[in-house]
Symmetry: C2
Subunit: 339 residues, 2 copies
DNA sequence: TTGAAAGCGTTACCAA
DNA sequence: TTGGTAACGCTTTCAA
């Protein structure tokens, strides 16, 4: 059933029906309600391609994912939040999977030229990230999940990674630690750089060294967490506390600590970053794990909000949001054992 | 730039350009190559809404996710596989997030009526799942990831859950276990029912009981794995071996075992189902964990294949595929301790 | 092998 | 407040 048929069957003009369904104000309330009800009953939904062609809008936002990296459980959580918000306006999420960074740019070009999405969401910006400039040249509206430039002329939302690590590190220093290991994200990812800065700043303020061997960069996997911790423990002077970038890394750390016959929260301290999932929970570990915590899902919801504003024509180019990160202390942190 | 402008700028008719870009055979090879090259150079991509309107095809496949449940890390892995396959034909994945089962059906209705996607993928079918019938009535092509009816008149792809649990249970029985716990998915999910059947069949064939208290249903979270295992250990006659439905549940199990001062692979055996992620690895646990293994990502790739065939007009209504599941023995399994 | 032109189903402008 | 109708940009039929 198309608009013509539907309009005819209820004895209205196409114009009025279209306006009523799109919520235009000039339709009499009574008329609108009647049309809405009948559309519901008869199951009429406008053809999205036709609407897209007429309006130039696609009714979808795009996310381009690279196959290997960047396609982790966080993504799912983020999308759950984002989607739940966008669903209220029947905006869908369009996922394109690509192999590498170059294919990612090609995908943006296709999405833009074919008018397949109204905006895209960028994840995990890197130092000298070329994507923002690229999207600007394409005239494709976008928002960055992660830190963007202050004067970049595009919106972004990030958590306070620097502050989080600064506080976590500061706390560990306050209770007496001097050698603190950092298991961080990939070198060049802005969030990881910020975390390292927060860590180094706190160390520096106490006049302490942060030797490079105490900083590890890599994926947030159990495996890498394990190996990093093993390497730490093999040092002549191992760290007495460790900051892990995710709950997955933390699992590896805990395993290495156990294998070494040590006990977390007694021989060694751990603070992990927690993106909040239902399937793994810092409160359920033994010992319970102190965390810097920020919900990925909530970030998705909020970015959905901002996108809806963008699509409504509101100027959000200078909308920057930095979310504070909670420091939740649990059993995995304690003063360093007496030397 | 639209087709008209592009065609004009290279001195061709719209018709020929359109045909060349869509790969129609009647265009002279030389002409096609020239057009393809120029489109690339000038960055021309057909407007997807216009193409959709003209052809009736959307160039996307839909996945509807319910917010809470069913939006787990597996989804990401599956989508990575699916998307990498669909990308070769520039088919995108359209995600719609809904609150509950009723909203899910409404979403299918909208997607169908608005011709927003060419097919949808159904996940985690349940007993008496109403969605297949619903989609048939909507005339929406679909494929089920999970077990469907043999004579349902729609394609599906599943792993051999029954066989996997039958073999895993059989192996444990072979090495002397008699009481085996099962930490399974939600009651009513077909995959979980199949796993329970495989488990019960193996038990029954040896004339053994599988008391209800040894079977737990729930989400695949660390938390539930932990609690289930604790409950098992509190029984007058605890199981000597446990089957966990996912690596997440397995983490909880391992934690409970450690808390009880027991050792896996000595006092107790564990086999977990592994969907294969890069961030958590059965080979890296202590002890290494025996698994029934099947890659979620590969399933995504294969479903992408089948969908491309569907979209190409091939009749796949009776295409059913059941993948064998590997049983990988590692250190977490051993004969039961002498009583 | 190429081209002209008729749809595809909306939206939005203009008129009433 | 409602209605007629010209785009929107592509695909595909028919003709050459």
């Amino acid at each position: 059933m198309n608009l013509k048929e539907f309009a005819k069957s209820i004895g209205m003009s196409q114009t009025t029906v279209s306006r009523a369904l799109s919520g235009y104000p000039e339709v009499k309330l009574e008329t609108r309600e009647r049309i809405l009800r009948l559309a519901q009953e008869l199951g009429y939904h406008p053809n999205r391609s036709a609407a897209g062609l007429a309006t130039g809008r696609a009714g979808a936002v795009g996310i381009v994912m690279r196959e290997g990296l960047g396609f982790d459980p966080n993504t799912t959580e983020f999308m759950a939040g984002l989607g739940s918000r966008l669903e209220t306006r029947q905006i869908d999420i369009l996922i394109t999977v690509v192999e590498d960074r170059q294919a990612e740019l090609a995908a943006y070009r296709r999405l833009a030229a074919s008018k397949r999405v109204d905006a895209v969401i960028l994840h995990t910006p890197t130092l000298d990230d070329e994507r923002m400039q690229f999207l600007k040249e394409l005239n494709m509206p976008f928002i960055v999940h992660g830190r963007g430039d202050e004067d970049g002329g595009y919106p972004w939302l990030d958590i306070d990674n620097l502050g989080a690590m600064y506080r976590a590190t500061g706390y560990l220093l306050d209770i007496g630690h001097k050698r603190i290991g950092l298991i961080n994200g990939a070198k060049g990812d802005v969030f990881a750089e910020h975390r390292e800065q927060g860590y180094r700043r706190a160390m520096k303020e106490r006049g302490l060294q942060a030797p490079d061997m105490l900083v590890v960069n890599g994926l947030f996997t159990d495996d890498i967490g394990y190996r990093a911790m093993q390497d730490f423990l093999a040092l002549p002077e191992p760290p007495t506390a460790v900051l892990a970038g995710s709950m997955m890394s933390a699992l590896g750390v805990m395993r290495a600590v156990r294998s070494a016959g040590l006990q977390l929260g007694r021989d060694l301290s751990l603070i992990a970053h927690d993106d909040v999932f239902n399937y793994i929970n810092a409160d359920n570990m033994v010992p319970t794990v102190s965390t810097t915590r920020s919900s990925m899902r909530e970030a998705g919801v909020r970015i959905g909000d901002i996108i809806l504003q963008m699509l409504a024509g509101r100027d959000v180019t200078n909308h920057h949001e930095i979310w504070p990160v909670e420091l939740v202390l649990r059993e995995s942190t304690c003063p360093p054992p007496a030397a």
